[in-house]
Symmetry: C2
Subunit: 577 residues, 2 copies
């Protein structure tokens, strides 16, 4: 399986389209991020392991060089990827630290006399773990504590040669095969250990921190923690790539499950032909909201790609785009969880067939299950979202925190009055305006509530920040998802509004309504608790999806899924085709 995947990766990376994508990354051609993301999505639909391995080389290894290195690094290690003389890997996670990577333990000690860094794995917990492409790759982008004169400047990224062109390991490097996983059998994950591996001073990717020939450390960012944040932020595109892969997986799973549901018949009226299983109410109710979510994610993630492209094109540091950081971290968590839940329903809705590997759904499930914890565990991602949201918020309230809080609470009260009259009007609950206001309201109330809770715990109760934050984690994850839901629904609505074809637009609107209804429906307890909904309107919302399905009709589903015209779903704001 790994050999086959290796061949597939070699073939794929040799395609003109992919070579061009690398060159685009080298040149930072306008919109190269969006282009590459879509290539990644399609590739993942063809074969997930190939998609993931190409992603390691292109986004993680290549992306690290582009975003953390200088022009010389790009010329030396990124550009030649087109010729496939070698491949790379990305070594950040350690046995001891997967989420809290700030305190990784691998060391890169500067040896002034030799003008070299010495890379070391000081203990078992410092072993690099789960490293993809570990059994084949030649170079690794290794994160290690940069140590000069016995003092750490925090984690930095170094290019470390692992194997020569013939595949022989360099002295001091040990690689252990991690063997069997739930899925992605074609991806070779391994453990890396370094024993006094010496690399030239120039192998430090030095955009955010460099060491001169004199052994002096220089960085444009003084604070160690802020510096590491800037490095992590620069890797954002690779996080968004996971969202595109998860979307590809959802679309493929849904296509298989919905097509099958249109061909399989089971049960029916007495003495009459059995009906197609898509006509069973539960089957439709299980599959259609996922289809709506896949569409919503399509627009939201393309939007995030466009923002990334703009920032990179304008040379803006990604760490300074707080809303974008929050969006990408949140989309990663949201899309990968939606994918797990979508594929589980696809698998169940196709019965025993869904359990057989030949029908692809179960293989997709196993392959993509890792998405929820890799490239940032989802629960950690949700905390990133809120950290960014609160940073934005704090910035706004910087000068008068307490009075601002109070003012905001008052606003929050009037918000409620301003929007909730819609919720008492039975006719409006099926409208996009109502749904948009509802998700907005939820995000605002949760945000203000969280600020107040943490403020109270830290300032009044004198709790340390970690424990205050930890005791609000459930609240934090709710807010985080509420934020992503709001942005996603907004982007879906924009896409509907800008859709140039009338028939497409009508259909898209139905799915957009279904998506918004799903969001409000699943949180209707919260809306009821906050008296944003009355029991009557809440019940009405419950009936919306079923009503919508009647409108869709069978023809509409076929139009979407049978025709497989995901590509004709237009991205209204994108400047590229």
């Amino acid at each position: 399986m790994r050999t086959l995947t290796f061949q597939r990766v070699t073939f794929t990376m040799g395609l003109p389209l992919l070579k061009r994508a690398i060159q685009d990354q080298v040149e930072k051609t306008r919109n190269f991020v969006s282009r590459s993301l879509v290539i990644g999505e399609v590739l993942s639909m063809a074969d997930m392991a190939t998609g993931v391995k190409c992603g390691i080389i292109y986004w993680l290894f290549g992306g690290a060089i582009r975003s953390l290195g200088g022009p010389a690094h790009v010329t030396q290690w990124l550009q030649p990827l087109q010729e496939q003389k070698y491949t790379g890997m990305f070594a950040m996670t350690e046995r001891g630290h997967g989420s809290n990577v700030r305190v990784i333990q691998t060391e890169a000690t500067f040896d002034f006399s030799a003008q070299e860094f010495v890379i070391d794995t000081p203990c078992k917990n410092a072993e690099k773990m789960y490293i993809g492409n570990a059994m084949y790759g030649n170079y690794a982008a290794v994160f290690a504590q940069l140590i000069i004169n016995g003092r750490s400047q925090g984690p930095h990224c170094f290019i470390v040669p692992v194997r020569d062109e013939n595949g022989s390991l360099y002295p001091g490097v040990t690689v252990v095969d991690m063997m069997h996983k739930e899925g992605l059998h074609g991806v070779d994950n391994g453990i890396l250990r370094f024993d006094s591996v010496r690399i030239p001073r120039e192998n430090l990717l030095d955009k955010f921190g460099s060491v001169g020939p004199d052994g002096q450390y220089h960085s444009p960012i003084k604070d160690k923690s802020a510096r590491f944040n800037a490095m992590l932020a620069a890797l954002t595109p690779s996080r968004l790539a996971v969202t595109f892969q998860a979307m590809g997986s959802m679309k493929l799973g849904l296509t298989i499950a919905i097509r099958y549901s249109h061909s399989r018949r089971q049960f029916g009226p007495k003495a009459r032909e059995e009906v197609k299983i898509i006509e069973h109410q539960t089957q439709t109710l299980r599959l259609m909201p996922h289809l709506a979510t896949a569409l919503a994610l399509t627009f939201a993630s393309r939007y995030a790609g466009t923002l990334l492209d703009e920032d990179i094109f304008r040379g803006k540091e990604l760490v300074d785009s707080r809303p974008l950081q929050a969006l990408v971290a949140g989309l990663k968590a949201y899309s990968t969880w939606e994918n797990v839940s979508c594929l589980q329903d696809c698998r169940e809705c196709t019965g025993g067939m869904g359990y057989m590997m030949e029908n692809q759904i179960s293989g997709l499930k196993c392959d993509t299950d890792v998405f929820v914890t890799f490239e940032g565990d989802n629960v950690v991602m949700l905390q990133v979202v809120v950290r960014e949201l609160l940073a934005q918020y704090t910035k706004q309230c910087e000068e008068r925190p307490v009075s601002s809080l109070l003012r905001n609470w008052v606003e929050s009260g009037s918000d409620r009055l301003r929007t909730s009259f819609l919720a008492f009007n039975m006719d409006t609950v099926g409208h996009l305006t109502f749904l948009l206001k509802a998700v907005h309201f939820r995000e605002r109330i949760l945000q203000r509530g969280l600020v107040a809770r943490i403020y109270y715990k830290v300032m009044t109760e004198k709790e340390d920040f970690f424990s205050a934050w930890n005791s609000c984690l459930h609240h934090i994850t709710c807010l985080s998802l509420a934020h992503i839901h709001r942005v996603t629904l907004e982007q879906f609505c924009l896409a509907v509004r800008n859709c140039p074809d009338q028939e497409d637009q009508d259909l898209l609107k139905q799915f957009c309504l279904l998506y918004g209804t799903k969001l409000v429906f699943q949180e209707r307890a919260w809306y009821l608790e906050h008296k944003y909904l009355t029991p009557m309107t809440s019940m009405r919302i419950r009936r919306q999806p079923i009503k919508s399905f009647c409108i869709f009709g069978k023809k509409a589903w076929w139009y979407f899924v049978g025709g497989c015209n995901w590509n004709s779903v237009r991205q209204p704001q994108s400047t590229w085709k």
Copy 2:
């Protein structure tokens, strides 16, 4: 993998405990069902594929003979399983019909002159599919339409020889390997085709329908449909066996995930040691409710086992125990879905480690995923539950359906008044009494609502029953789960009350409260809509789990999981140890 599993099955079935279990089934020894269920649970924790294959031989093949055959069949085919001279399989599902097995197409045509049945697969859709043990088994319990003089008497079960002792297929039998699945790689699933396979008249398992030497058909049940229901009901124990396997899987997954969460550290207060991940609020909130559910399922499924044992011991036909049928069908669906959701959280809560096969959770996930659709698709199971509940209901209201309905509606109104005052009292929402009343209330209201809806659709709107039922499917699944939730919580409460050890009892009560709170919490929107909860009490329920966790403390978790003393959790009503 299959060879290894085959060896494991041979070893296991050769153990004195298992031989004894077969003998107990032969003799219908008191409580043999409960004993065997627990053996199955433990076996599944050791190796799921072995557990499933043993289950096929013991419950499906063996159980079909015991419950559908006569004493001669038991002596000829069930008893000798102890010597392992041959093994069996169970062939009900066909390519065309997995859920709607009533209309399977395999034919068993009686040949009067030869006094034989001729087994035939008339078309592709009639192929027996997903048959476990198909690549090794010697005999198959095959369901086929019994045809005499060109007329079908409905599906009956026949013992068909598939291979001889050397493993060579008999003439007319074709077996196709179904190859790769998501999991259970040790289980050999295959497709069976029969081409004029002749078997003696005596190979019909004839408890519910026999053919005399004169070619006359006799059955104690005149109605074809009722007859098939009786046969399916007789197979109930094998359905409950799936629940025990799912529970075993949950307990193993939780043990691994909770132990890991107590040893892994990540993040922490500034400049202090990182904290154990179990201390992260989200980790606890994700894992503990599953632990409570696993306990609840333990008591409820043991209760169902006890009822089954009593009925079988008293010689009662299982089809006449409507509440038991509903309970077992519902437990199968509920436990297997809870298992999927539990293992997904276990996998995610253990990060990358959870994705590695060596740590068992992902293997368990893949192995048990099929539980939600095999032995009766879960959505179909939920419909069985409601069919039984409505049959009970109709029986009660038989004489005056309309006035009964009306009377019940009035009762339902007063119910609300009678119970909901508890819900307005903030202090009571954390009490078992309140939680029990709440789940009772939900079940009753949903049941009455459904009866009224179907009655209206069929009687007033003149819809055909199938389409009326189909348009209520969502309602039906809700009622079905509400019923199982109620019974499960009741059994948990009984277990708490009867627990003989004070310390055990206190701890068990906390988990029981957590379980009940989870049930009401997840449906709090519904309770709010029905004004059973006020927004204030609903918010209070939201805070209960977090409050409970503080009470549990670390010591309690260790006591439960570290000590692995699942066995010391006593079954209060069981008469066996």
